[in-house]
Symmetry: C2
Subunit: 447 residues, 2 copies
């Protein structure tokens, strides 16, 4: 037995959620859900695993090493645990495109999986919120999803002091690459993947890696300078100075920033041409949400992917969205003490039922608890054998019950049965008819 004890751990990179951890997870999920609904999104979900092809169709076979893929014993179909939601969403939209409203606004919350080495902020299983607008090509859609992300961050207690949203448009970086003569899509993709890692590399490391994929020293310097200049200046100055006489290049990005400003979000957002996102499917706006110290991985990332629905058999359909995971978000919230309330906020019992120990009390005790629960009230009782009312009141207080219901001496008078109800906040006691108890507790619940 001892030799197998190592297997009785959760798999590496996954989590056991004991009640306090689960309470935090449910709290984060409930903020995500409420914000999504307030912004007019409807919740959907897909299978936890998909056909492997759904991922290789979009990202090429290179993605397989990052996936948990499998077959059923004796089966001949390859599956993979979902690493992200967008392919499922595009597949689901494509299957029903004709019947769905324009735009379709969907969100989902559930587990996702990556077969990578676990590290700070990155696990093999995490919970992710996806929010997407499908069928709207306007900048207003990009603005709406960024605005929803801000609402969630704000509802969780974060502010522009802690958080920055870095925004770019892939087409701006594409123009810079084309100007340098980098027109081969595969080569462009290599540059995007390197740029995506830029903030994690030193200047020297970046230059060395850039050299490896054939970028000239001059171009690397130009890239660095361009990205730094835009980061250091207001977008209205920076974009026009970087692309004089070619407003077409950045007009979507410009309009996006103007609209975000009109929604009073300028403190949250900043243009960063270095943001390109690692995924191949983005076609326009791209953004990442980071904690300001830059020490953690991205909290969220997203952008516009106008070709994906078509790739999965649907009609040509513009779309944009983002994903926010729970792992980095939790670290950021924990570091700022913003999860304490959720951790401590166990649901409060409406009643803690106490039997003082006499015959009739013992007889009525469990049926009363069961009855209150069946009537939709949160009722608890002690599992200890003591019938010492003082001790049991202590247990009721520890459980943070709203009321203690004491089956005591009043029962000896026979029906109609009466019990003592003690308000554990005010200390006040009342004598209540048993038949009226559920109604009374439900009314107090609303107060």
């Amino acid at each position: 037995m001892a030799a197998r004890t190592h297997t009785f751990q959760p798999p590496k990179g996954t989590r056991d959620f004991y009640p306090q951890d689960l309470a935090v997870r449910r709290y984060i999920e409930s903020v995500w859900r409420e914000v999504s609904i307030n912004h007019g999104f409807e919740e959907i979900d897909g299978p936890t695993f998909e056909h492997l092809d759904l991922y290789t169709a979009k990202s090429g076979p290179g993605i397989v090493s990052e996936l948990f893929s499998f077959r059923r014993a004796g089966g001949d179909v390859d599956y993979a645990l979902r690493p992200e939601f967008t392919p499922t969403l595009a597949r689901m939209y494509a299957a029903q495109a004709g019947a769905l409203p324009k735009p379709t606004k969907w969100f989902s919350i559930g587990p996702f999986f990556r077969a990578e080495r676990p590290q700070r902020g990155r696990l093999r299983e995490h919970i992710q919120w996806n929010l997407d607008i499908i069928g709207d090509e306007s900048v207003a859609a990009d603005v709406e999803i960024i605005s929803a992300a801000v609402s969630a961050l704000q509802a969780l207690g974060l502010s522009p002091k802690n958080i920055q949203i870095q925004i770019s448009d892939r087409r701006v970086m594409e123009t810079i690459l084309l100007d340098e003569g980098i027109s081969d899509p595969t080569h462009q993709e290599e540059v995007y993947i390197l740029l995506d890692r830029r903030s994690k590399l030193s200047r020297e490391e970046f230059a060395w890696e850039a050299g490896k994929i054939g970028l000239s020293k001059e171009f690397i310097t130009h890239l660095d300078k361009t990205i730094d200049f835009v980061q250091g200046h207001h977008y209205s100055v920076a974009l026009q100075q970087m692309f004089p006489g070619d407003a077409e290049v950045h007009h979507v990005l410009f309009e996006l920033m103007v609209e975000l400003e009109s929604l009073d979000l300028s403190q949250w957002v900043q243009v960063d041409l270095g943001v390109v996102r690692g995924l191949a499917y983005y076609t326009g706006t791209v953004f990442e949400i980071h904690e300001t110290s830059g020490e953690e991985r991205a909290i969220a990332g997203g952008g516009r992917y106008d070709n994906l629905v078509e790739l999965f058999g649907g009609p040509p359909t513009p779309a944009c969205g983002f994903a926010m995971g729970d792992v980095v978000l939790r670290l950021v919230l924990e570091d700022r003490g913003l999860l304490k309330a959720a951790q401590e906020c166990a649901p409060r019992p409406d009643a803690f039922v106490i039997s003082a120990g006499k015959d009739e009390a013992e007889k009525q005790f469990r049926p009363l608890v069961a009855k209150l629960r069946r009537e939709g009230l949160h009722a608890r009782h002690s599992y200890r054998s003591t019938r010492n009312v003082g001790k049991l009141l202590g247990e009721a207080a520890k459980a943070r019950a709203r009321f203690a219901v004491i089956l005591g001496d009043e029962l000896k008078d026979g029906p109609p049965w009466r019990v003592v109800v003690k308000d554990l906040d005010s200390g006040k006691q009342e004598n209540v008819k048993l038949d009226d108890l559920a109604t009374m507790l439900r009314e107090r619940q609303k107060q």
Copy 2:
């Protein structure tokens, strides 16, 4: 592309949840969660996949063919998608046993997986509710979980007319087998597995299969007669008549039934000695919840498993619990029209914001929507280009918004800005200062 279209389906036996389906799922989950909390249970969760050994340790290697198992590319550890929650729960309890309260009352809700052939009531991925009491050996714990199951069924609109809970104690059947000289645990297990399938087999099929595992004709007749007799009579008569002078055999089952009666649950429950549950780990009370026509598979099943925590490295710990899946439950609820409200009950917008089209209205329209949402209100607007207020009011009504907020002619008077708020239930209109709008909507939300 066309040749690959088959892959752009959800995997066989899994489900896409479009908004109406997801609404039903969330409704069922919310009933499960509320009932669990009202009964004093705390929510936990584990990883979606576990080490394969966690399942083979308990159920033997035979279970592997029913699992989706896999390895990471290049890895050397075998994993499996969780087919059930109890091994995770026992592992988690064992890891923290010293620090946990006695009893520990846990519930969980999440996806589970079986690599079986999909059929009515049985999918490869389903959502399951688990409810367990760990560390209490008394019959009261068995009673409490059965009582919680009833609360959930009742809250979902079901009654004893639709639902029966069939209860037994494995030790009763074990006594019957021992009396027949069947004492080898492996042979007993074979009989349990066959008994578990009894209700799905004809008398002839059952007799034939029973013969195959070495049961005599006389014993099969005796078994049938015993099970039928107990099913046909009140437990107090049946158990005593079947086991005269040996009350020890059925005293736990007897006490369980007496206590369930005292909680006013006798209409829901019935002793059925044919219920043994297929899983090897049950040690005492076992039960199944069925729709009364008997046409569907079990809605839920559970029982007492007093050896499992120890098997996973914890101290000897009594435990009992049950699991209820969403697939059969949904069929049963759908057949009775009990899911219509959940399907139709999309969240109701607090406000549908309409721009009548003038300059100032157009300017303030989107910022107002964003502001209301950031203040925690559910705000919507049209994505159509029309500025016809009548048409837009129609869209607001279709979205079932509580109020329409119209940015119209009042704006031409300049600040303080005023808008028209129309109550879409009563038809009443008011002229409201923009600064007061959020507060007003929030107050109405509470009414």
